[in-house]
Amino acid sequence: MSEFCLEISAANKSFPGVKALDKASFRLRKGSIHALLGENGAGKSTLIKIITGVHKQDSGKLFINGKEETLNNPNDATKFGISVVHQERNLIRRFSVGENLMLNNLPKTLLGLIDYDEIAIQSKKWLEIMDLDIDPSAVVSELTVAKMQLCEIAKALSLKAKILLLDEPTSSLSPKEAENLFSLLRKIVRDEGVSIVFVSHKLEEVFNICDEVTVLRDGQNACTSENINNLDRKKLVRLMIGRDEQIVKSTRKTDKIKDTVLALNKVKTELGHENINLELARSEIMGLYGLVGAGRTELVKCLIGLEKITEGDVLINGKKTAIDSPKSALEKFKIGYISEDRKKEGLILIHNVLDNTSITIWSQIKKAAGLVTDGMIANKVNPYIRKLEVRTPSNYQIISNLSGGNQQKISVAKWLAAGTDVLIIDEPTVGIDIKTKAYLHELIINLADNGTSIILISSDMPEMISLADRIVVMKDFKVNGIVENDRDYDVVSSKIMEFIHS
C-alpha cells in the first residue's frame, strides 16, 4: 500500500478548441487535506471530473491506493470511495434528509422494500458525525443552505467515501459556518480516515486547514503537493496568476458623501423583516453583512419589488415611493440588482452575449415601432463589454460557453449599461478567480467615485472591509448595527462580530 490514496500522473485532456490539461499531476496523501488551486479555466474542474469519472483522461495514469485503475463513470468512482460535494446543491429537495443520505443504497426489509425506520437509524449516525441535529425525516427543501451543505458531506461519508472532493464548499457559508465546517472536516479526517481534496478561491481558508497544495495554471502544474508551510499568500498567488496580486485598498474619502438618495424607514416585509431603517447616500458604498439567513438578499429583493413591503416607507431622493416590480425599480427609479445567483437570476444562459448585456436597455434605446437592431445594441453595450475585458470570441457567443468569470462580468456589464443611480451588488466575487475579483473591486470603487450609490452584499469579510464605506450588520431579518469602516481590518471585523453575536 502506498502512502497516496489517489495519484494522477501526467494526465492530458483536450476538448475541441482547448487543451484543458497538459501533463497535469496530482497526489493525495492519506489522511491529509489537499488544496487544489488555480484560476478559472486553469483545469481544476477538468481534473476533478477525471477523478470522479465524469471525463476520461486522453493519456496519463490514475492510481488509487497505488493500484492503477480506470474510472468509466461516476459509479466507478463511488465504488472506489471517491465522492464529490459540488458547488451547486445536489440534494433531492422534496425527499427527506435521511432518504437523500441513503439514496444510493437504501436499506431494505426482507421483502426487498425500503425500510424507512432503518433509514432514520443509519442516517442519524452520519448526521451525528457532522454534528447535525436534524430529524432524518425532515424535508430537505426546508433546511438552510448551510445545513444542506453539511448534509451533502454526510451523504458523501455515508457512501463510505475515503476520498472527498469539496468544490468551493464555503461559497455560500458565513465565516462562522465555514469555521464550523472546517473543524468538522478536521474531525472526519482524524476519525473517519478520510482524505480531502479542497477547492477554493479563498486563500485564507487554504492556509487555515490545508496540509498540501497543488496549483494548476493553464492546464499545467504550477506546483505539486507543496507543503503549506513553505508557502505564503504572496507566493501562492504568484503561482496561480503568474504575477503578483494587486490588493485593492480603497483610499476613498467617506467625507464627500452627502445627500441621501435612498432611505428605508421602519420597513417591515412579507418575508419577516422587522423595523429596518437604512440611509444610502450618493456615491456611497454601503455593505450589508450577516450570516446566512440574516435576510440580506431577501431585504434587497423586497426593495426592488420582487417581494412585498408590508409596512414602513421607502424614500427615494426624499420622496415617498412604492416600488412594485424590478421593472419600475429600473425604469422609474434607476435601481438595479446584480443577483448572487448568476445562473438562475443573473443571466440567460441559452442566449448570447449581446442579448444578455442589453436586456436592461431595450426599452431605453428602442426607436419608432419598437425597433431595436443588433447594431443599435452593439453601439450601446460594446463599450462596457470592452471596459470589462470580457473574453468572448464574438458578441454572438452563447453565454453558457463562457467561463464563470466572464459570465459574472456580463451580469455586471448589463447593469453598467443600464446606467443606474443605485446598484445593489449581491456576492459579486463568489467563485470568481483572483484576477477578475480584483478587477471587479476596482470597478465597484470607480462606480461609486462617479456618483453611483452601491449596496454591497458579501459574506467575504476582507472584501467587505476593503470596499464598503459603512457596514450594516444584519441578523434574523433585523439590523443589528452599523459600523463606520475606517479600513482597519482587525478593529472593524471585531466590531462586526460583536454585532453579529449581540
Binding site: G17, A329, D374
Partner: protein
Amino acid sequence: MKYPMNKKLPNFIFTNQFGLLFLVLIFIIIFSTVTDGFTSRFNIFALSRVIAIDIMIGLAMMVVILTGGLNLALGAIGVCAAMFGGWCMEVLGIPIVPSLLLTLGMGSLLGWVNGIITVKTGVHSFIVTLATMSIYFGFMTMLTEAEAFRRLPDLFTDFGSAKLFNKYVSPLLLVSVATCFTLFYLFRFTDIGRKLIAAGANPEAAEVSGISVSRMFIYCHVLSGFLGALAAILLTTRIGAAIPSMAGQLGMDWLLPAFLAPVIGGTLLSGGKLSVFGTMLGAVLVTLLTNGLYLLDVGEFWIRFFLGIILLLAVLLDRARELLTLKNVIVS
C-alpha cells in the same frame, strides 16, 4: 430565424432551417418524380392553401411554446372566434372588415383569459388550457347549438378559392407568409419581441432584469389567440362557412399541425428559443409529406404510420445536426 442568431453565414449550414429546407427540396424532388399529379396545378394550389393554414396554426402554438408552455385550447379558440365572426357577418350583418377585426378581438380575448389564469395561478398552461379548451368549446356548442353560419358574404368566401400566379397559389398563403415576416420583425427587431423571448428563456433572470414577465406571458397567450383566430378566418374562407366542427371535437384536430410545425422548426419546448421561418418550413414539410403519401398509394390506412415514422426521423435527424454543431462550440 434561429434565436439567438449567429451572423456568420457558413453557420447557416448548421441551422435547423437549412436542414428543413434540404428535406423539403428532397421530398419535392422525390414526389414530383415518383408520383403522378404532384406537380399538377390543382395539387400545387391545394397544397399552398393547406400549407397556409398549417403555418398559421403552427405560429399560434409557437408563441406559447416560447413561454415554455402549451396552448391546448388553440383549436377551441379558433372555432369560437370563427363562429363569432360568422355570427357577426350573418346574423348582425356587420360588414366584412369590422367583423374580421371582431373575430381577431375574440381570439385575443380568449387567449388573454388563458394568459391571466396561467400567470395568476402559476399553474402550467398545459393544465389551464386543457380546462379552458373544454369550457370555450362547451360554451360555443351551447350558444350555437352546433348550427353553422354558411351565408357569409361571397367576397369573403371567394377569397378562399381565389387563385394567383397563373392559378398556382392561393392568396391565403400570402397572408401566412406576410404574418411570418411580421412575427420575424417582432421577435428579431423590436424591444417587446426581445423581451418576450428573454422572459421565456429564464423568467427569474428576466424579472430581475426589469422585465415584467407575467405581462410578457400574457402577451404571448393573447398573440396565440390572435393568430389562432387568424388561422380560423383562413379556414373559414377555405370551407366557405363557419362550422363548429371545423377543428374537430374540442378543436383538437388542430393540435397535431400546431405542434409538428414549431417542434420540427426548431422551437425549444422548454421556451426561450423560437424559429419563425423554421415553423413555416415545418408546416410545409408536414403538409408535403401527407400529400405525397396520399399520392404514393401507400394505402390510406397506413398513412398515419408513415407520417409517424417520418416525423420521428425528422426530429432524430435534427438532433443529430445539433450534436454535430455542438462540436464546434468552444469549451471553457
